[in-house]
């Protein structure tokens, strides 16, 4: 009964065609099958946001998505945001503002910030705080993360 099914989707701008078990969560599929371990598994219940990825331009908790559900979709993980040679402006701002402490929430925070700025390039401080409401951080107190996002927003014209 447990037969793999074929899914096709766009992952970090690359076309992927792969077989996956139907009961595979997207988070496990990304980390264990595709070795994309930037996405973190925290609570597994949609409370912490550490597993945030972007599906068709909107953030989602990848622990609450079945891998087959991304068939035909576009998925962006933290690996698709930037790399060591060319960081995204948000990643650079997180470094510059000291917005990373233990780093566990950072991939999710960055992707939430990315969708915020894609939809709303000049958010208010209040909008920035709200955009983080699905991502728990236990180290920073959020202030430096908000500062980093604000810095990138201020550079947007």
């Amino acid at each position: 009964m447990e037969e793999k099914m074929k899914i096709k989707f766009l992952l970090n701008k690359k076309n992927i065609e792969v077989e996956v078990l139907p009961n595979r969560r997207l988070i496990d599929f990304l980390r264990d099958d595709l070795d994309l371990i930037g996405t973190k598994l925290g609570c597994g219940e949609g409370d912490c946001g550490a597993c945030t990825v972007i599906i068709n331009g909107k953030t989602a908790n990848s622990c609450l998505v079945l891998a087959p559900q991304v068939d035909g979709k576009e998925v962006i993980t933290i690996e698709g945001l930037g790399d060591y040679d060319k960081l995204d402006s948000l990643q650079q701002a997180f470094i510059d503002e000291g917005a990373v402490q233990c780093g566990f929430c950072t991939p999710g925070m960055l992707l939430s910030a990315k969708t915020l700025l894609d939809e709303n390039p000049k958010p208010s401080r209040e909008e920035i705080m709200r955009s983080m409401s699905g991502n728990l951080c236990r180290c920073t107190g959020y202030v430096k993360i908000a500062n980093a996002i604000e810095k990138v927003a201020n550079a947007n014209n």
């Binding site: 009961n23 969560r25 949609g46 953030t59 609450l64 079945l66 969708t115």
Partner: protein
């Protein structure tokens, strides 16, 4: 997670055939509730049917004064809908307070209802709008008042082979208003300790209430209306004394429990407070 087959029908009829052939099915749309239950093996379906992209469940439209809201519309889509922002702002407010941005991007209104949590935020709001729920099966459709859909926590009157198709309610008139309020343990990503919604219709010349609906969540085994409190409003203007009287009726007639989020005694008090706040807000929209 147990093993299952994943099916994503393209048409509603196809979904009905899959349900008929596989009685041990579960429906998934956003998955924000179902995935948690499947992870803990509280649901062990043999077939998971994904209805998230069925066109019949995806529409938001208005027809002759009735708003039609497809079951697979997400909370984010509710919040962005010009139609709903204009004609159902209290529903938009409630959907905007569900979970987190990530949850709202995937969680659907039909899922919020079908999951039948007594604390679901969209349910009291929709009950205040006087919403009906439309259920579809291979045999046809049936609709019932939303408050008649729930049996208890996680339990509804939905039959095997039925899906939630839509939620329908009338556009508000100039003499009508709805207000929704929620209290959680924190401002973001909190399941409601208590939530409440009030609908008022007034006679503008006399400034008295002609019709009222008061709906509350997380104060009983299912979302409820408090008819004694509704009746106490009819024919009256909303004086301070009247608001207090109605809030007391609400507090006295609900039967909340102690649980991880709060205590019965606190819930009784807060239900009264939220009743006052929603009544005042709805009244201010009208006079």
């Amino acid at each position: 997670m147990s093993q299952f087959i994943y099916k994503k029908p393209k048409q509603l009829q196809e979904a009905f055939s899959i349900m008929k052939e596989n009685p041990a099915y579960s429906i998934i749309a956003g998955g924000t509730d179902l995935m948690v239950k499947m992870k803990d093996n509280r649901i062990t379906a043999k077939v998971i049917i994904d209805v998230s992209e069925l066109n019949d469940l995806r529409e938001i439209k208005e027809k002759q004064g009735t708003i039609y809201l497809g079951a697979a519309v997400t909370h984010t889509e509710i919040c962005k809908s010009e139609l709903l922002r204009g004609f159902a702002p209290a529903l938009v407010h409630a959907s905007g307070l569900v979970g987190s941005p990530q949850i709202r991007n995937r969680g659907t209104v039909g899922g919020n209802i079908g999951n039948a949590s007594p604390a679901a935020d969209t349910i009291p709001a929709l009950m205040a709008y006087g919403a009906e729920i439309v259920l579809a099966s291979a045999e046809g459709v049936r609709s019932l008042a939303l408050e008649d859909f729930f049996v208890g926590p996680g339990r509804t009157v939905i039959s095997p082979g039925e899906v939630i198709l839509s939620i329908e309610f009338n556009k508000l008139q100039a003499t009508q208003a709805v207000s929704f309020e929620k209290l959680g343990k924190r401002k973001a990503l909190a399941i409601s300790v208590v939530n409440a919604a009030a609908f008022l219709e007034i006679d503008k010349t006399k400034a008295v209430v002609t019709k009222a609906r008061l709906a509350l969540g997380s104060v009983a085994a299912k979302p409820i209306r408090v008819s004694a409190a509704e009746e106490a409003l009819i024919g009256y203007s909303l004086s301070d004394d009247k608001i207090k009287e109605v809030a007391k009726i609400v507090s006295d007639s609900i039967t909340p429990i102690d649980d991880v989020r709060s205590e019965a005694l606190y819930r009784k008090r807060i239900a009264g407070v939220l009743t006052q706040r929603t009544l005042i807000d709805a009244w201010k929209q009208l006079v």
